[in-house]
C-alpha cells in the first residue's frame, strides 16, 4: 500500500508536474468547501459530517454535467484522464495513510488505558467475534438475496462489518454522550479493524485463487501478522516516543514527535505487512496514557490545538471525498443489491450488539439497555470500508460490491447519522441537552439579578416611586430565590462559576501588580503558575462531577 502511495507521488513529480498543481488546486478547493460548509452548518441544523458528504455528492453530480465536465476537461486534462484523485488505489492510500491515520491517532490519544481496561470485555467481544459473526451473516444474506458468489459476499461482509472509527468518532463527539458510552462505541471502532482486515484478506485470497482453499493455519498466521504485528509495532514506537516525551519540555518538539509517530506507526506497520490502523491505535493509546501524562500546561494547549486543527482538516476532507467518490447513477443501477446489503448490515449489527452486550453482562460487565440501542444504531461505516472496497479494483464482480459499499456507507452516514441524535435525546443520553438546560436556568438567574439591578438604578435616579420599587424589588427577589429553590443543582454550578471568576480575577490582579513593579518577575511567574494550576484543576473536578452524574444516569 505504502509503495503505491510513494510511487504515485514520485510519478506525479517526475512525469506529470501538472498533477501536482492540480493536487494543490483541488486541496484548496476542498478546504474552501469545507470552510463554507462549516460556516453554513452553524446556522442550519445539520451534522457537519453529513453536510460534507452531501456536498461531496452534489459536487460529484455536478462534475458529470456536460458543461462542467467539459470545463473540467479543459482545466484538468490529466485529472479527467486518470481520474486518479477520487478513485482507485490513490484514493485508497490517500484516505488510509494521510487522512485516516492521523484521525485515528488523535482519537486514540484521548482514550486512556485505565478507562479502556474497565470496558475491554464488551469492546473485545464486539471487535473480534462480533465482527467475525457479522461478516458471515452479511455474506450469507447478500449471497442468498443478491446472488453474489459466497466467498465474494463474505469479502463484502468483512469490509462492511467493522464500524468506522473516523465516522463514529466524528459523530459521537458532536453528540455529547456520556464518556462511557462514547468509549464503548469508539473503542470498538478503533479495535475492530484488525479482525475485519484479516477476514477480508483471507476471503479475498480465496476469491483470487479459489483452488487454494481455506487453510486455518494460514488464516491464524495472517491474523497474528496483521493484528499482533500492528499492535506490537504501535506499542514499540509508542513506548519509544513516550521515553523521549517524558524527558523533554518543549512544546514544538513534543508536538512534532506526536505527528511523526502518527504517520510513522502506520508506515512502519504497513511496511512489514501488519495492520497500520492497529499500529496507530496502539501508539496513540500508549502515548496518550503514559507519554503525555505529566506534560506542562503550555504543551497540553499546543498539542490540543495542533491535533484539533489537523483532525478538523483531515476529517472534513475524508467525508467530502466519500461524497465525491459516490456516484448516484451507480447507486441507482444497483439499488436492489444495496437495499439487501443495508438490511443485512442492520440485521447482523443488531444480532451482534444485543447478543454480545448480553454476554458481557453475564460475564460481569453490564451495559445499560439504552446504551445497547445507541451501539446498534450508531455503528456507522465510512472511510475504511470505502478504502477496502476500492482495493477490489480488477476483481470480477467488484463493481456491485463497491456499489453496495458506497450505498451502505451513504445510508449509515446520512440516515443513521441524521437520526441518531434524535434517538440519543429520546433515550435521555445527551449530556449537551442536560448542560444546555442547566445553562438556561443559570441564564434565568442572571437575568433576574440584572433586572433587579436595573430597577435599583432607576429607583436611585428617582424614576421609580418607592412603593413601586418595593413591590417590584420583592418580586425580583422572589424570582431569584424561586429559581434556586426549584433547581438546587444550580448551587453547585454557581459555586464553580464563582470560583472560576475569583481565580480569573486573581490572575488579572497578579498581572496588574506585576505591571506596577510591585512584585518581581520571579514571584509573578511562580504565583501565576499556581493560579493557572488551580484554574486547570477545575477541569478535572468538573469532569469528576460529570462522571458522577453519568453514573447516576447509567444506574
Amino acid at each position: 500500500m505504502v509503495d503505491i502511495l510513494l510511487n504515485t507521488i514520485f510519478l506525479a513529480e517526475e512525469e506529470a508536474p501538472l498533477l501536482r498543481i492540480e493536487l494543490i488546486f483541488l486541496t484548496i478547493i476542498l478546504i474552501a468547501t469545507v470552510i463554507a460548509i462549516a460556516i453554513r452548518t452553524r446556522r442550519v441544523k445539520l451534522p457537519y459530517t453529513v453536510a460534507l458528504v452531501l456536498a461531496g455528492l452534489a459536487l460529484s453530480a455536478m462534475a458529470d454535467l456536460p458543461l462542467l465536465a467539459d470545463v473540467r476537461r479543459q482545466i484538468f486534462p490529466a485529472l479527467t484522464d486518470a481520474e486518479g484523485l477520487v478513485s482507485g488505489p490513490i484514493l485508497e492510500e490517500f484516505l488510509l495513510a494521510m487522512l485516516v491515520a492521523p484521525l485515528i491517532f488523535e482519537a486514540a490519544l484521548h482514550v486512556k488505558w485505565r478507562d479502556l481496561r474497565k470496558d475491554l470485555l464488551p469492546i473485545l467481544l464486539l471487535a473480534a467475534p462480533g465482527v467475525l459473526i457479522a461478516s458471515f451473516i452479511v455474506g450469507w444474506i447478500v449471497h442468498t438475496t443478491a446472488g453474489t458468489a459466497l466467498v465474494l459476499a463474505i469479502t463484502f461482509g468483512a469490509l462492511i462489518s467493522a464500524t468506522d472509527p473516523v465516522a463514529v468518532i466524528a459523530f459521537f463527539r458532536s453528540l455529547g454522550v456520556s464518556k462511557r458510552l462514547a468509549l464503548l462505541v469508539e473503542g470498538e471502532s478503533l479495535l475492530n479493524d484488525g479482525i475485519a482486515v484479516v477476514i477480508f484478506v483471507i476471503a479475498l485470497g480465496l476469491v483470487r485463487e479459489p483452488e487454494a482453499g481455506f487453510n486455518f493455519a494460514e488464516a491464524a498466521g495472517i491474523f497474528i501478522q496483521e493484528a499482533g504485528g500492528g499492535i506490537l509495532v504501535g506499542l514499540a514506537l509508542g513506548a519509544l516516543t513516550s521515553l523521549i516525551l517524558v524527558r523533554i519540555d518543549d512544546y514544538l518538539i513534543e508536538t512534532t514527535l506526536t505527528m511523526t509517530l502518527a504517520f510513522g506507526a502506520y508506515v512502519a506497520a504497513a511496511s512489514v505487512h501488519a495492520s497500520g490502523i492497529l499500529a496507530v491505535v496502539a501508539a496513540g493509546i500508549y502515548v496518550g496514557s503514559y507519554g503525555l501524562k505529566n506534560i506542562s500546561p503550555t504543551t497540553r494547549i499546543a498539542l490540543d490545538n495542533f491535533w484539533e486543527f489537523l483532525s478538523f482538516i483531515a476529517n472534513s476532507i475524508v467525508f467530502l471525498l466519500i461524497g465525491l467518490r459516490i456516484e448516484l447513477f451507480e447507486l441507482a443501477e444497483n439499488a436492489l443489491p444495496i437495499l439487501y446489503a443495508i438490511l443485512a448490515i442492520l440485521l447482523s449489527r443488531g444480532l451482534v450488539v444485543y447478543f454480545m452486550t448480553w454476554l458481557s453482562g453475564k460475564l460481569g460487565n453490564w451495559i445499560p439497555v439504552s446504551f445497547r440501542h445507541i451501539m446498534f444504531w450508531g455503528g456507522l461505516r465510512g472511510a475504511v470500508s470505502l478504502a477496502l472496497a476500492l482495493s477490489l479494483e480488477g476483481i470480477p464482480g467488484a463493481g456491485p460490491i463497491q456499489a453496495m459499499t458506497f450505498g451502505v456507507v451513504l445510508f449509515t452516514l446520512v440516515a443513521q447519522g441524521l437520526s441518531i441524535e434524535v434517538l440519543i435525546k429520546r433515550l435521555g443520553l445527551s449530556e449537551i441537552a442536560k448542560k444546555s438546560e442547566a445553562q438556561r436556568r443559570i441564564a434565568s438567574l442572571f437575568i433576574a439579578r440584572a433586572e433587579k439591578q436595573g430597577l435599583a438604578r432607576l429607583h436611585r435616579e428617582g424614576l421609580v416611586a418607592d412603593i413601586l420599587y418595593q413591590a417590584l424589588s420583592d418580586s425580583a427577589d422572589r424570582s431569584v430565590n424561586q429559581i434556586l429553590a426549584e433547581h438546587p443543582e444550580l448551587e453547585q454550578q454557581l459555586l464553580i462559576q464563582i470560583r472560576r471568576e475569583m481565580l480569573y480575577t486573581a490572575r488579572a490582579t497578579l498581572a496588574e501588580i506585576y505591571r506596577r513593579n510591585m512584585i518581581s518577575e520571579e514571584v509573578y511567574e511562580q504565583e501565576l503558575k499556581e493560579v493557572d494550576h488551580r484554574i486547570q484543576a477545575w477541569e478535572a473536578i468538573e469532569a469528576s462531577f460529570d462522571r458522577n452524574e453519568a453514573r447516576k444516569m447509567e444506574g
Binding site: 486512556k112 485505565r114 478507562d115 501524562k293 505529566n294 506534560i295 506542562s296 433547581h487 438546587p488 443543582e489 448551587e491 453547585q492 459555586l495 464553580i496 470560583r499 499556581e530 494550576h533 488551580r534 486547570q536 484543576a537 477545575w538 478535572a540 473536578i541 469532569a543 469528576s544 462531577f545 462522571r547 458522577n548 452524574e549 453514573r551 447516576k552 444506574g555
Partner: protein
C-alpha cells in the same frame, strides 16, 4: 444537648439530606454537625503537577458548600457546626462521630450512589459498618424512589 452528624456533599441530592438533618435536629433539640470528606478520587486520571491545586480547590469547594448549609440550618434555628476532613470517608466520619460524641449519623442514599464509597449496594453495608464500629445509629435519607422489588 445531643449532636447529630450529617455527612454531606454538594449537588442536587444533598439539599433534601441537609433538610432532613435540620428537621431531626429541631425534633430532638440537638446540635448539628455537617461533615464533608474530601477523599482522593482514584478514578481521576490526574496530572501529578495538578494534585496540590485540585486538593486545594476541593477543600475550598467543601468549605463553601458547608457554609451554605450552615446558613440554612441557622435560619431554621439550629445550632450548627461544620467540618471539612481529608482522607478515607469511613475513617473520617468515624472520627467526627467520636469527636462530637454524636447520637445519630445521617447519610444520603442517592448522593452515596454517585460517589466512590457509597455505591447503591454499599450504602446499607456502610451504615451497618458505622453502627458496628461506633455504636451510633445511622439514618439513610432515601433521595430517590426505592427501586421496584
Amino acid at each position: 444537648m445531643g449532636t447529630i452528624v450529617c455527612a454531606t456533599r454538594s449537588g442536587e441530592a444533598s439539599r433534601p439530606l441537609q433538610n432532613r438533618a435540620v428537621q431531626l435536629a429541631l425534633e430532638r433539640q440537638a446540635g448539628l454537625v455537617f461533615v464533608y470528606v474530601v477523599a482522593p478520587d482514584t478514578r481521576l486520571d490526574l496530572d501529578e503537577q495538578l494534585v496540590p491545586a485540585i486538593s486545594h480547590e476541593l477543600f475550598w469547594f467543601a468549605e463553601a458548600t458547608l457554609n451554605i448549609a450552615k446558613i440554612r440550618a441557622r435560619q431554621a434555628g439550629v445550632h450548627v457546626e461544620t467540618t471539612v476532613r481529608r482522607g478515607a470517608v469511613e475513617d473520617e466520619i468515624e472520627n467526627v462521630i467520636r469527636e462530637y460524641q454524636a447520637e445519630l449519623l445521617v447519610i444520603g442514599g442517592s448522593q452515596a450512589r454517585a460517589g466512590q464509597h457509597f455505591s447503591e449496594d454499599g450504602v446499607e453495608n456502610f451504615a451497618r459498618q458505622m453502627e458496628a464500629n461506633t455504636g451510633v445509629p445511622v439514618e439513610i435519607v432515601r433521595l430517590t424512589p426505592e427501586p421496584a422489588a
